[in-house]
């Protein structure tokens, strides 16, 4: 029997960067193929070719034995190919329903469509607010809308590009179950992820990519994880690739350390009157990593913004090293040595139209490091960037490249590198490992640990519970804009944390 999808000899270059090199793949219906590879390996590019977003320089795609030309996403949809994108492609000014219905034939947009959307939501156990516009949604909800959009389109090939990166742990399981159901119904699913456990759970085969080539397509069940990583990393052991020994997991004893950050009784009420943060109090000691766990959308983002000055709290106080900074400007907090990795790298972490080196500098442009004789030293900027690019293994290793040309994971590394270097007194990170491959994740976690070890307080906010537990000295759990409990990551169970995460507001009091 002919395979359903037959991809042969696909090549794609961007300028000097060879993003795909002679990619071949056979796949049949009812199969789930994971795509694994380092940041910048070409996963998203491959998916984009399938979906008609990029035109390959070479190669052929056959569907059901017949060559097809996927010259546009609309064509792809006609052929029953759908995709969930790594970076959301939603219309901010429209609500969830409109976003899902855009582009569909009129016959599929009637009242039944609305009913079906809600049905899908409950099938997948998705919490989506249909009354607000996408711009007002927390990232997790955006991702759910993105997923719904693809699911709604009755596809025979579905490509998921890091679909779970900002889903709450509680949402991931039902989502994966839903995907399995699709596969069982004969859908061909590509699942791009850096999370080996998810791949293991859901995929039948894994296609490992490296530097734009397919290194192998292996059955998941019989291939040890180590072999997958080895293929992906090019035989080198993980820690060496990233140029640093994997740090011993040492818990810092910070009980006698001074307080780096004290947040006391902070409330934040949004213009609509909703209480986003309620009497929130927490302390981060110098040299300590305080993890914040919680389901996305419970005020974590806002907490980080209040601390860094992007939002002004309605009441309450914030102290940094004993000095009140409650009403200090963002600029003065930057000058105070607060590093901040924001949640949305495209929206605020990066300026995509600037080069990598400028992105590495823009939040500290007045620093002596970047200045000479009162002027910005482009040379210093370049040299510092060259070092960072090497240390963080940012690819392609060209600091003059526009940030927009980098893969998602490499973009994240830029933000992290910049903020880690900047943080002298406090580092606030939100979803720092989002989109990073295994090696990069280790590297970044090590960097953050190193920052803490140098005496900087770290506030580590993430929905990736494992990473939080892995790195934190203490873990505070947030729900409904409050801290519902602070636990010791060594002596706590996932269940306890799960309870705290979903604690109803009245219980919290």
């Amino acid at each position: 029997m002919d395979p359903f999808l037959n991809v042969t000899g696909i090549c794609k270059s961007f300028g000097a960067v060879r993003a795909l090199h002679n990619v071949n793949l056979l796949a049949s219906k009812g199969e789930c193929i994971a795509i694994l590879g380092e940041n910048g390996a070409g996963k998203t590019t491959f998916a984009s070719v399938l979906i008609g977003l990029y035109q390959p320089d070479n190669g052929e795609i056959k569907l059901g034995g017949a060559p097809v030309s996927v010259s546009s996403p609309a064509k792809a949809i006609e052929h029953g190919i759908g995709m969930i994108h790594q970076h959301f492609s939603l219309v901010g000014a429209m609500n969830a329903e409109e976003n899902i219905l855009i582009g569909l034939p009129s016959t599929k947009r009637g009242a039944e469509a609305r009913a079906r959307i809600r049905q899908l939501c409950s099938d997948f156990d998705f919490n989506v607010d249909f009354d607000i516009r996408v711009t007002e949604m927390p990232v997790g909800m955006k991702q759910r809308v993105e997923i719904l959009k693809a699911l709604f389109r009755d596809v025979s090939i579905l490509i998921l590009d890091e679909p779970t990166s900002v889903l709450a742990p509680t949402e991931i399981a039902p989502f994966l179950k839903g995907v399995r159901k699709l596969v069982a119904n004969g859908c061909l699913v590509f699942f791009i992820s850096h999370k080996l456990d998810e791949i293991r759970e859901i995929a039948d085969r894994v296609m490992v990519m490296r530097h734009g080539r397919v290194e192998g397509v292996l059955p998941v069940a019989t291939t040890p994880m180590a072999q997958m990583s080895a293929l992906m990393m090019g035989e080198k052991p993980t820690s060496e690739t990233v140029g640093m020994p994997k740090a011993e997991k040492v818990r810092n004893d910070t009980s006698s350390a001074p307080d780096a950050l004290v947040v006391s009784d902070v409330c934040l009420i949004d213009p609509g009157g909703a209480e986003i943060l309620q009497d929130l109090t927490l302390t981060v000691k110098a040299g300590e990593i305080l993890g914040i766990a919680g389901i996305d959308g419970n005020g974590q983002t806002e907490l980080s913004e209040v601390i860094t000055g992007l939002k002004r709290q309605t009441s309450g106080a914030i102290h940094l090293n004993g000095t009140e900074i409650s009403s200090a400007s963002i600029a003065s907090r930057i000058a105070d040595g607060i590093g901040f990795v924001p949640e949305d790298r495209h929206a605020e972490g990066l300026v995509l139209s600037l080069s990598v080196e400028e992105n590495l500098a823009f939040r500290s442009i007045g620093d002596d490091r970047f200045m000479s004789g009162g002027l910005i030293s482009r040379r210093a900027m370049h040299e510092i960037a060259s070092d960072v690019v090497a240390a963080f293994d940012i690819r392609p290793p060209d600091p003059k490249l526009n940030a927009s040309a980098l893969s998602g994971g490499n973009q994240q590394k830029i933000v992290l590198a910049r903020e880690v270097a900047r943080a002298r007194n406090l580092l606030v990170v939100v979803q720092p490992t989002k989109g990073l491959d295994v090696g990069a994740t280790d590297f970044v976690q090590n960097q953050i640990r190193a920052v803490a070890q140098s005496g900087v307080g770290v506030l580590y906010i993430s929905t990736e519970l494992e990473h939080v537990l892995d790195i934190s000295d203490r873990v505070a759990v947030m729900a409904f804009g409050r801290i519902t409990g602070v636990v010791d990551p060594e002596n706590t169970t996932l269940q306890d944390i799960g309870l705290l995460m979903t604690a109803a507001p009245e219980e919290v009091k």
Binding site: T308, L310, S329, I330, A331, S332, R333, I334, A335, F340, P342, A347, E348, G349, L350, V351, L352, S353, L354, F362, R363, I365, G366, M371, L375, I376, R378
Partner: protein, 361 residues
């Protein structure tokens, strides 16, 4: 499209524009080759033609910069035209009110007055944009019309020169007139002044934190806020600079070219500035080139009419076509923001490489 090199694209573009225009010139009963010869030779390679080009390029350059700086902060200044008028008005009023200063003192003061006028006219949309979120495009556009009428009133009323057959003011005193660069012509020092501004602004944007931060606001306002840049202040600053530059363009027209304030003294230079700015991909250092291109086109077109007798309506068509086609050639696939200079440099490098390779082979 992607496969063409820069030179080829520009060449093809110009050829297409000129052949379409040539047909019209032919229809109009003239020899297109003769007309085009004049168009090119007399805009740059002829003393008088080049002087005309420079005269026009001066306000265009400053008006272009007046678009570039605000645009780099994400503010769309359509108001160059109005700012030119108000700048010219302020400069002229100052020059006429205090006619007896030595030039060395008077000219800078006139410039300051004109810059203040332009900045004042830009401050209104800037304030509305920064603090009330009002769309700046519409405010600046409407204010252009208002400014033109204000100057029209001023020169027909309070400033009207004695015995003038047309609304214009008295002449400014000799000491205040900009020096003439090319003897016997009207080429005043305005373009040199514009070049100076260009260099200052280029370095400011590229090598000072405040310039860099202004650029950030335009590229990604949220990221700029996250970098501690005060967006409101930046918008105001950018517009004040833009307005000052346009105001200076007005002053240059008054004390460099006409020596009086005239009704309708700017012929849409504020709008030409938009073309100059975007053809330069918003890079100040490229703006002199694009200003010269546009000015040369307009000067050459004029001579084409006078020397060959081509109908001015046909000339407008040719001008429009050339701008369209050249703009099309300058758009590089997928890298709209790369500046012309960069592209040229890249091209040269490529060519040298291939030549070297050929030699080696």
């Amino acid at each position: 499209m992607n496969r063409f090199t820069m030179q080829r694209r520009i060449a093809i573009a110009l050829l297409s524009a000129l052949s379409v225009g040539g047909v019209l010139i032919l229809l109009d009963g003239h020899n297109p080759f003769e007309a085009y010869k004049v168009l090119f030779l007399e805009s740059f390679l002829n003393y008088w033609g080049f002087s005309n080009t420079l005269v026009k390029a001066s306000p265009m350059l400053l008006a272009g910069l007046a678009v570039i700086i605000p645009m780099r902060a994400g503010v769309f200044n359509i108001g160059g035209e109005g700012q030119i008028y108000i700048g010219g008005l302020f400069g002229a009023v100052f020059a006429l009110a205090i006619p007896n200063l030595p030039g060395i003192l008077g000219v800078p003061l006139i410039f300051i007055a004109a810059a203040a006028g332009g900045a004042f006219w830009a401050a209104i949309p800037a304030y509305l944009k920064a603090y009330r979120g009002t769309n700046e495009v519409i405010v600046t556009l409407l204010m252009n019309f208002i400014a033109i009428h204000i100057v029209s009133y001023a020169v027909a009323g309070p400033l009207l020169a004695e015995g003038a057959p047309y609304p214009y003011s008295e002449e400014v005193s000799d000491a205040y007139r900009l020096p003439i660069l090319m003897p016997q012509s009207d080429t005043h020092a305005g373009f040199v002044f514009g070049l100076g501004m260009t260099i200052i602004l280029y370095f400011w944007l590229r090598f000072t934190p405040s310039g860099f931060q202004l650029d950030l606001v335009g590229r990604n306002a949220r990221a700029a806020a996250y970098a501690g840049v005060d967006q409101k202040k930046t918008i105001i600053r950018a517009m004040l600079i833009g307005g000052s530059l346009a105001g200076l363009a007005g002053a240059i027209e008054v004390i460099g070219l006409k020596y009086r304030l005239f009704h309708l003294f700017s012929d849409g230079y504020g709008y030409d500035g938009i073309v100059v700015a975007f053809l330069a991909a918003l890079n100040p250092i490229v703006a002199p080139l694009t200003a010269l291109f546009l000015a040369g086109l307009s000067a050459g077109a004029g001579t084409m009419q006078r020397a060959v007798g081509v109908d001015s309506s046909v000339i407008e068509v040719v001008e429009g076509l050339v701008v369209v086609f050249v703009a099309a050639a300058l758009v590089t696939p997928r890298t709209t923001s790369i500046s012309i200079l960069k592209l040229l440099a890249k091209n040269l490098r490529l060519r040298r490489q291939t030549q070297r390779r050929k030699k080696e082979a």
